[in-house]
């Protein structure tokens, strides 16, 4: 039976491809777990509770080289500018500032995480994924795509953190 199903789907897909070329909205031909109506129905994820990217934890400092970090009340604009440059070259392959991409968007991150947690996540993502429950949840939320260690120096990660402080919610 399953085989037959697959064949039918394959056939349908083939048909679809051969009919392609026009910019029409195409009907989904794989309808597993969805209602049969053509109307796309909003389905809620099965997971319970808040996704890790929305969770707020302002006490967890994470695991890694940064144990304690107190931020100045005022933003160091020069450092933030350096951070913006670094973010562009080292991070944008996977992060957009205001939108989930491969990984989460950093906008408003300081309202959700401690500065130490952010720095540790940048500086030692392998250790964080192994030992920090929030980092583990985030990994799951982002399809198991682990954050790459971009071999940044501590002051570079610090500059990126400063840049994150300048990101305004749009």
């Amino acid at each position: 039976m399953i085989r037959l199903d697959k064949l039918i789907i394959l056939f349908a897909v083939t048909l679809l491809i051969s009919c392609g070329g026009k910019e029409e909205k195409k009907e989904e031909q794989i309808k597993i777990g969805k209602s049969t109506t053509t109307q796309k129905k909003e389905t809620k994820p099965v997971s319970t509770g808040t996704p890790a990217s929305k969770k707020v934890d302002l006490t967890n400092k994470g695991v890694g080289p940064i144990k304690n970090l107190v931020l100045d009340a005022t933003i160091d604009e020069k450092m933030a500018a350096q951070g913006a440059e670094l973010f562009k070259t080292k991070c944008t392959a996977c992060h957009k500032t205001h939108k989930k991409f491969i990984g989460p968007a950093p906008v408003g991150i300081l309202e959700r995480r401690t500065p130490e947690w952010i720095m540790n996540m940048i500086l030692d993502p392998e250790k964080m994924i192994k030992e920090d429950p929030l980092a583990q949840e985030l990994l799951k939320e982002h399809n198991g795509s682990p954050m790459a260690n971009q071999s940044l120096k501590e002051e570079e990660a610090r500059a990126i953190l400063e840049y994150f402080r300048t990101l305004k919610k749009g």
């Binding site: 080292k90 392959a93 071999s151």
Partner: protein, 655 residues
């Protein structure tokens, strides 16, 4: 009947016991140490632990250089040098194609022979390793911070670049001597005009002390002999270089017979400091030439090939004091200098004896002008006057000697298939051990320097026959490791090698390990087509050429959907690996590409060319398993007919 069979059975059991006892005794004898440790323990490097030495073993007719650990014999890397390597895109990607350029055009193969590690004050320093291409004469320099070939220089006026590539005590020069003499300059003459007409060029290639860049400093045009191997003077003999010769008969046919007539051939002793003086005085001739100099730039990750048009040449007949000949029996192969620099060993391959010349006696003979005639104006020193001693009847077919730094020489004997240990100055044989089979060269880490690490000797064999599981008519090549810390040598390990291992160079791992690069820094990437941030990702058309500026990171390409490519286009994929973490290379190729994959290290940019031939939508993907989402790392290129008006477009995800 029953009785007889019982007796037979008991006898069989007894003989088994006896045999195993004998074996135990034999093993004990082999270990020769008070602790009685066994060979397996001595070569066992526990999982996760590192070897004590690097061994750079020539790949012979594979044209490459392999990197092994000693004592384990584990293979770490095959560094592509003279031959294309599809695995690493060497000679296939746009960046490295120029590395294989020569005056004969693109040459995708060579026969690599003799690696030698750079030296400072006569000790191996682990900065570079040099190796020669024998067939189309070239010398390559490999950078030991990246383990990549970074420079190749072609050698003009040369053919069969065999007595190469050996360095002087401070890597002032790497030398390259011709095995085959040829008309210099080349001309259309009868082969029979060989005698007197053909010349043997030995080249001194200078090496920049900071960057290692090579330059053809000068050549010395020697008589038309075959220049087989060479080694530098050191200590007192620093400033001299020694080359073995054979075919001093100057035969041009049936050399097997005709080049084996003379009882003695020569070791050419070349005073290269004198050569420098002559060059300074302007006593050279500038000859027109045509040879390629290929340099890989670490910052642009791109090689360039420049054709050089002339070479400085010295004629020894016009430069007194530059070259002397030391008569040496008989068709000598290896030419080896002991750590003190006093003894020069000629391994006469058709002789049973080893001839050891004395440097100080040679100098005295030169001062006293005790010559025994000359060859093409080059003085011949009387055999006895420079002779230090003879290791007599040590074996059959001596080929090559290295030293342990404790007063002993170790010589390979090809015909009698053994390594013989002998004592310097007393010239007595101390030990001999068989090799399996027909050993060529051997190597002691640092054995061609003032300070050998006299712990192991690695013998490289020419024949392996029954030593390994058979693999059809072509069987594996192999090396064998011996412990040389005791009075007697002990065979520890057989291990397979690539190509035919001619020679090797070894060094303590501590001298290389700390300098080994982990990634290429993105900010230092000056590749013309690098994309260092996602804002610069683009696809550009220049007529029929299309340039894709692409990036890769776990686990996607940007862009991964490209449209507007047409049949007949030449598409350049310039791909930058944005990773900055150790050991995260990505690979890439596309269906039907007439070239190899790219294997791109973190921070590096490489380029491959694709010429789509069919309309359709064609996938590309990452070829190096990079992450849990590696199977998702893929993309599509839409190829439209040549007449199509579809504009170039590219995207990743929804954007």
């Amino acid at each position: 009947m029953k009785r007889i069979s019982q007796i037979l059975f008991i006898t069989a059991v007894l003989s088994l016991v006896i045999t195993s006892c004998a074996d135990i005794n034999k093993d004990k004898k082999m270990t020769d140490g008070a602790l009685g440790s066994n060979a397996a323990e001595k070569v066992y490097v526990a999982p996760g632990e590192h070897d004590e030495f690097y061994a750079f073993v020539s790949g012979g007719f594979s044209g490459q250089l392999s990197v092994y650990g000693l004592p384990s014999g584990r293979l770490f890397k095959v560094i592509p040098v003279f031959s294309q390597d599809a695995e690493k895109a060497w000679g296939y990607n746009e960046e490295t194609k120029p590395m294989l350029n020569t005056s004969y055009g693109f040459v995708p193969w060579d026969d690599s022979h003799h690696p030698d590690i750079s030296q400072t004050n006569g000790e191996v320093d682990g900065r570079w390793v040099f190796i020669n291409g024998n067939n189309t004469p070239r010398i390559a320099r490999i950078d030991l911070s990246t383990f990549e070939t970074t420079e190749i220089i072609e050698v003009p006026n040369s053919a069969g670049n065999h007595s190469s590539s050996f360095v002087t005590e401070n890597t002032e020069y790497v030398v390259a001597g011709t095995r085959f003499s040829v008309p210099v300059p080349q001309e259309d003459i009868a082969i029979k005009e060989y005698k007197g007409k053909f010349k043997g060029a030995v080249s001194f290639i200078s090496v920049d002390p900071d960057h290692g860049n090579m330059e053809m400093a000068f050549q010395i045009l020697l008589p038309g002999f075959n220049y087989d191997l060479a080694h530098p003077g050191r200590g007192a003999s620093h400033g001299w270089f020694f080359f073995t010769t054979y075919n001093t008969e100057e035969a041009n046919s049936l050399l097997e017979v005709n080049a084996s007539q003379n009882d003695k051939d020569f070791i050419a002793a070349i005073n290269w400091k004198k050569a420098e003086e002559y060059i300074k005085q302007g006593k050279f001739k500038t000859m027109p030439a045509n040879y390629a100099h290929n340099v890989y730039d670490e910052k642009t990750h791109t090689a360039t090939s420049t054709m050089k048009k002339e070479v400085k040449v010295l004629d020894p007949a016009e430069c007194p004091g530059l070259v002397y000949f030391l008569p040496t029996p008989k068709s000598p192969h290896g030419c080896d200098v002991d750590p003190s620099g006093e003894y020069i060993v000629g391994n006469g391959k058709l002789s049973a004896d080893l001839t050891v010349h004395s440097f100080s006696k040679m100098i005295k003979a030169i001062e006293n002008k005790q010559f025994d005639g000359d060859a093409y104006g080059i003085p011949i020193i009387k055999f006895e006057d420079a002779l230090a001693g003879v290791v007599s009847q040590a074996g059959l077919g001596p080929l090559h000697t290295e030293f342990d730094g404790k007063g002993n020489g170790y010589t390979t004997f090809f015909i009698s298939s053994e390594v013989v240990k002998w004592k310097l100055e007393s010239w007595e044989v101390i030990d001999r051990k068989p090799t399996y089979y027909s050993v060529g060269h051997l190597m002691i880490p640092g054995g061609n320097s003032r300070k050998p690490f006299g712990k192991y000797v690695l013998a490289m064999n020419k024949i392996t026959k029954d030593r390994y599981l058979p693999t059809g008519p072509e069987v594996t090549q192999s090396a064998q490791l011996y412990d040389i810390t005791g009075e007697k040598m002990e065979l520890l390990l057989d291990f397979p090698t690539i190509g035919e291992p001619h020679y090797a160079a070894g060094i303590s791992a501590d001298l290389i390990k700390p300098r080994s690069k982990k990634i290429y820094k993105l900010e230092e990437n000056e590749h013309k087509y690098a994309v260092k941030n996602n804002e610069n990702i683009r696809v550009e058309r220049e007529g029929k050429e299309v340039h894709v500026y692409m990036t890769m990171i776990r686990s996607h390409f940007t862009p991964d959907n490209i449209e507007g490519i047409k049949v007949g286009d030449k598409v350049y994929f310039h791909v930058t690996n944005l990773e900055q973490d150790y050991d995260v290379p990505h690979g890439v190729s596309i269906i039907g590409a007439n070239t190899s994959e790219l294997l791109i290290m973190p921070g590096q940019t490489e380029t491959f060319v694709w010429e789509p031939k069919q309309v359709g939508v064609w996938p590309f993907y990452c070829t190096d398993f990079c992450s849990a989402l590696h199977q998702e790392m893929q993309g599509y290129v839409r190829v439209s007919p040549a007449s199509s008006n579809i504009e170039l477009s590219w995207s990743l995800g929804e954007d």
